[in-house]
Amino acid sequence: MSTMSDTPNRASAVIIGAGIVGNSLAYHLARLGWRELVLVDKGPMPNPGGSTGHASNFIFPIEYSKMMMELTADSTEQYEELGVFTQSGGIEVARTEARMQELRRRCTQAKAWQIPAQMISPAEVAKLVPYLDESVILGGAHFPTVGVVDSLRAGTLMRESAMQLGALTVLAGAEVLGIDTDDAGRVSAVRTTKGDIETSVCAICCGVWAPRIARMAGARIPLTPIVHQMISVGPIPLFADTPGEISYPIVRDVDTNMYERQHGGDMEVGSYAHRPIIVAPDDIPSIEEAALSPTEMPFTQDDFDPQLMQALELMPDLLGDERVGIRYAINGLISMTPDGHPLIGETPEVPGLWSVAASWIKEGPGIGRAAAEWMSGGAPEIDIHEADISRFYGHQRTTAHVIARAREGFNKMYGIVHPAEQWESGRPVRLSPVYDRERDLGAVFIETAGWERPNWYASNDVLLERYAGRLMERGAEWESRWWSPIINAEHLAMRDACGLVDLSAFAVFDIVGPGALAAVQSVAVAQLDVRVGRVIYTSLLDERGGFRGDLTIMRLGPQRFRVVTGGATGMMDVKWFADHLSEGGPGGGQAVIADQTSAWTTLGLWGPRARDVLSSVTPADMSHDGFKFGTCREIELGGVTVLASRISYVGELGWELYAPIEEGRRVWDTVWEAGQPHGLVPVGIGVYGTTGRLEKGYRAYGAELDGSYDLVEAGMTRPKVKEQEFLGKDAYLAQRSSPPCALLCTLTVDDHRSASGQLRYMLGGEPILTAAGEALVDAKGRPSYVTSAGSGPSVGKHLLMAYLPAEHAVEGNRLAVEYLGEQYPVTVAVAGSAPLFDPENDRVRS
């Protein structure tokens, strides 16, 4: 029974949307001490008519994304505590050989995350699911801890719990009419059909309606409603006597993009196979207009008919029984985002307006908790930077982009998606000034943050002969996708002579003003009060001392700092710094942030001949003593004023070159010309992002560096910690005071030969095991897995990075890696951050 409440005049936070996410958020905020919360929904309790109300409610714990896996694990725990979880087991079945490999990959990934999983034969599948025709499948992956939940009940219990704490007022049947902001642009009130509520914090948890609500405040939430068809078929005679909601494992018929789950006496059959059907948020029916509910839209029969046939194929007797009728069929509405990850965080446009949207049932409670922790001023315990709503660039927030990517991603829901898989729709968008040059050189482009970046250059195939025997060629199709031995040839050519890299995808922003030093000092681990012209490489931490970022900062003036960071995290880093410039923050409101990404183009030139090449086109002193490592200054280069910065992410002598974007092509042409006699080659991201740095042990944020690990474990401590305060300092000092329970290591693969005699090459994410094949778990309960993998052509080895429990982080220690279901011997080559290649860093400092 919902409370018929009077509308409060004010609230500490207004939560819009009483689905699984909104209810979870209310509960966790209340638990963290928030009071005077108001939960608003235009629909009735307990089912206001959103996606939660018609969800299929099952949870498979296996995910490739660490974040999604952790959110799912946390949510499952919460559902279990609420007493609404029923374990049923789940099986993904394969109809093709390609899928069998994918299932082995999933089982291997499950092992890395300590999720129970086994490959089983068709006969074993039929034993667990007797109504499945085993002749249709080649095998299956069994996940015994799969289960179903009662998400409506969970939401109700969480909501009532918050109410019992006296923390929450619930306003059902109240439609949001507007969100007001004050002169500073901050949320000031939420207006509803049941009255207005003053508040400075508003969380949008209403899923498919989120973009509409966000627009009321002038913010954008980049998701689109999309249809997911499901039917319920019954009464199934076999299910008549089974107790409870489910007695048979859930089947994911992944090759047909379908699932079948028992639900009481019915079989629910769902499909992601149909054409993508987008519904604009403004076209979602109202509760009054809808025949069932706003997110249960009329079923379009034709779109589902092929799936009926496939379901009949798989479960012929059960579903082919003429007594069994299709009793429920909907085009259900769910939310989809451009990259498939949720949208969590304070919107960049409107302070105080939070997005907590685009969640599945299986992450709902976890997302509510993470958002509540974040809203309460701390870093969420689970690292959710991949779901940070501020990650999007302008073009990614457009409806056209959101819809195009949602359409492209929909039919891949159960697809075999390669770790390096590229999006195709909506490209190209962001073109570097030297795109034409790259294309003419046969660049094979990949996309990062909308930028077209050369992965490698086809014109470099002339190098294959020169470096034959050192290319570490890959025979198996899977790891050859989005890869070429040319990458390794470029790497070797760069280390022999020099390579020219286009780094225009970097995000570049300046922090300027009297408060600039204080602001950057407060978020960076490294000392920033340095001479003008110094380049500082630093980590950013959260208050628990976990990684939040990793970037370089150039001091260009007493009151000007230029931050350079990877394109993928650029917008998040901008927001992070901007949040620390505010009135009450360390910058004292005395600094501004200026995004310079579209003003500068960045090229990189590295290799033993780099100095020779640049010296020929600039009068500046480029000698080792004249231009020290870790410094930057303006030079004249071919008639352009260029900011040159002597650092290197590939571990070679060289410079990053920053030119005004409109002059970038001239700089490229100048350096290209000058480089030809020196053996200059164009070098792609295959080298810059992987091979170069793996050989040098350089870490990457999002791979090795995330919220669950710290500087000590990553082997990145410096002798001293700066005396100034910075975010995470206390935690970091505590971490330094005792030996770490895990250490980041670089491992080499000793034998690539599979059981069938093929040479196999790991791609990342695989579990590291003892030589006997047992799991490696550190004292904090974190299993060891490969954070980055790739060729190390100069050392002639395939390299893996992984955190190992301290007792195993010993050079020479022999372990194993499991790849696609088979184990391969590996050895710890480096325990810590010492480079494998050029350990003394002679090249960089030459």
Binding site: V233, D283, P285, S286, I287, E288, E289, A290, A291, L292, M297, P298, F299, T300, Q301, D305, L308, M309, A311, L312, L319, G320, D321, E322, R323, V324, G325, I326, R327
Partner: protein, 295 residues
């Protein structure tokens, strides 16, 4: 026995009906379509009758090309033949609708696209051998009853829903019966085949009326006569593969012309809470007394 059931494609609406901007039609952008509820029960009733007594069910609709969806839905319930009298989407009045139905069921259709597609062989779709070849026999003139004997009717029973959910004219079954000179009973909630024909029952003001009628006859039924089955998966797939015979009858103006649609100003529904638990008893007793339920 051979049964023909007439169905209509109607919008499947929620509680609130929205009219298009020009005030002419129901706005169906957000709704699906369905067969009118009384008619769906008529199809179910027909299928049950042939399951018991043998024969087949033909389902027939006058509607736009998309009405083929509704015919397939009815095929998946167990009808074995489907005929679409295809319109251009314009609304047809009850007089013209009845005429088109009569022309179809008597095989007297005179439209240009007269020859039926042969139905695909298969267990659920059988060509109707009783239907005369329109090319073979001359089309009888319906408007001149004295000129020719009553047209041949290959059906024992013509079933209808009592009224369509959208237009609610209540006329089509009666007009069809009159044109064919057949007995007609409406509002039926129970139907059985007997030795003498059929026994049809309906409720009227607390009593039950029983009609014994000879066949062939026209019967219109009301929702509640049965609970229609849900289509099975194989049923749905058979329906999908079935051929729908299509005719293109000529539209003609009818007695009534629609000028527009208007949604009446809502009487807002109110739920009054009488009280909680035992405290509600006095108010509840007063209400029951007011309703005349207490003796």
């Amino acid at each position: 026995m051979e049964i023909a059931v007439c169905v209509k494609r109607v919008p499947m609406v929620g509680g609130k009906i929205v009219v298009t901007a020009d005030g002419q039609d129901v706005d169906t952008r957000m709704s699906g379509f369905t067969v009118s509820p009384h008619e769906e029960c008529a199809v179910e009733e027909a299928v049950r009758l042939v399951e018991r007594h043998g024969g087949s069910v033909t389902v027939l609709t006058l509607g736009p090309p998309a009405a083929a969806d509704q015919l397939r839905d009815m095929l998946s319930l167990g009808a074995s033949r489907a005929v679409l009298l295809e319109t251009d989407g314009r609304e047809w009045g009850p007089i013209a609708t009845a005429e088109a139905i009569v022309a179809q069921v008597t095989g007297a259709a005179t439209d240009p696209a007269a020859s039926p597609d042969p139905a695909l062989p298969g267990p659920a779709v059988c060509p109707d051998p009783a239907l005369p070849d329109p090319a073979a026999s001359p089309a009888p003139a319906l408007s001149d009853p004295a000129a020719s004997p009553e047209p041949a009717l290959p059906y024992d029973l013509l079933l209808f829903g009592n009224e369509a959910a959208d237009t609610g004219d209540y006329q089509v079954p009666v007009r069809v019966a009159h044109a064919l000179g057949l007995p007609c009973v409406t509002g039926i909630k129970n139907l059985e085949v007997t030795d003498a024909g059929a026994r049809a029952k309906r409720e009227y003001r607390g009593t039950e009326e029983v009609f014994d009628i000879p066949l062939p006859a026209v019967v219109s039924v009301k929702e509640g006569i049965n609970l229609p089955r849900y289509p099975s998966l194989p049923g749905r797939l058979r329906a999908k593969r079935a051929t729908i015979e299509t005719r293109a009858p000529q539209w003609r103006a009818d007695g009534l012309t629609k000028t527009g649609l208007r949604v009446p100003a809502g009487e807002s529904k109110r739920a009054e809470i009488l009280g909680n638990g035992a405290d509600a008893v006095p108010a509840l007793v007063a209400l029951l007394d007011e309703l005349g339920i207490l003796s």
